[in-house]
């Protein structure tokens, strides 16, 4: 009789072991999936790379690139075909809307409050969102960006100052919304 009881107990015990094994497996799975479900936000770096590429596109060795300015006038053609001229391709199959924005404002050294020329590529609405992020950190998760300033001269040694703003959205891939 006691032998029968012992057999029953051993049966219950093996079921219990299976339950514990499953529980531990679920726990390990939960740990790994929780850890890896948090995406790494690389948009700040992406924005920096984009800004640097844009700077390279307009300034070479400290001088404005050919085709950006002829004589005293900045080229409208450069403005209209900025993406093409700089080799930017903002299309992304994962999104309907363009997820990038880059803008360069040029100022004359004598009047720093007046933009003399401007070029931009990508989706301008992210520029507005980025400005709001700078004022208050409300939309930080939506866009990330960077702002850089540099000095450049044209072939006739006229001095200009440039401000680059580059913004990356791609929040679905970089943050948990």
């Amino acid at each position: 009789m006691s032998w029968l009881k012992s057999k029953k107990a051993s049966h219950v015990l093996s079921v219990y072991w299976f339950v514990i094994l499953i529980l531990v497996a679920i726990g390990i799975y939960a740990m790994i999936s929780t850890y890896y479900s948090y995406p790494t936000d690389v948009r700040q770096w992406e924005a920096n790379v984009l800004a640097n590429k844009a700077m390279d596109c307009v300034s070479k060795n400290g001088v404005l690139v050919e085709g950006l300015k002829s004589g005293k006038e900045f080229e409208k053609d450069f403005q209209e075909n900025f993406d093409e001229r700089c080799g930017f391709n903002f299309a992304d199959n994962n999104y309907d809307k363009t997820q990038y924005y880059v803008n360069i404002d040029f100022y004359e050294v004598s009047s720093l409050d007046k933009i003399v020329f401007n070029v931009y590529g990508g989706n301008p609405s992210w520029g507005g969102t980025y400005n709001e992020v700078q004022q208050e950190k409300t939309f930080e998760r939506i866009v990330q960006g960077t702002k850089k300033r540099f000095y450049v001269v044209d072939s006739e040694r006229n001095q200009y100052l440039a401000e680059v703003v580059s913004v990356v959205r791609k929040s679905e891939q970089n943050v948990k919304l």
């Binding site: 219990y16 514990i20 529980l23 531990v24 726990g27 939960a30 740990m31 790994i32 929780t34 850890y35 890896y36 479900s37 948090y38 790494t40 936000d41 690389v42 700040q44 770096w45 920096n48 790379v49 800004a51 640097n52 700077m55 300034s59 060795n61 400290g62 001088v63 050294v109 720093l112 960077t146 702002k147 850089k148 300033r149 540099f150 000095y151 450049v152 001269v153 040694r157 001095q159 100052l161 401000e163 680059v164």
Partner: protein, 91 residues
């Protein structure tokens, strides 16, 4: 008979306590993994992996400015002040 029953209760209690300990430690580790991911541990690891690369390439714009100064040095104070003003805003 009484001793056998006591032993049985003792053994059952041991298993119950063991189960509770296992569940509690698993819960702790899941919570810890969550905290680790949320607290930017991955981001920090990523930054460390690329610590040799300066992604916040202010150096790039500085180099461009320096190169432009080799062409024309006039208004340098005004130019540098304007560039520095942006950094002050960021800080």
């Amino acid at each position: 008979m009484l001793n056998y029953k006591r032993a049985q209760i003792g053994q059952t209690m041991t298993w119950i306590v063991a189960t509770i300990i296992i569940v509690l430690s698993l819960t702790f580790f899941v919570y810890f993994a969550n905290m680790l991911a949320q607290g930017g541990a991955i981001k920090n690891a990523f930054s460390t992996a690329f610590s040799d690369v300066d992604f916040n390439l202010d150096e790039w714009s500085r180099a461009k400015t320096e190169l432009a100064f080799t062409r024309k040095t006039g208004n340098s104070e005004r130019i540098n002040k304007w560039i520095e003003k942006l950094k002050e805003k960021d800080e």
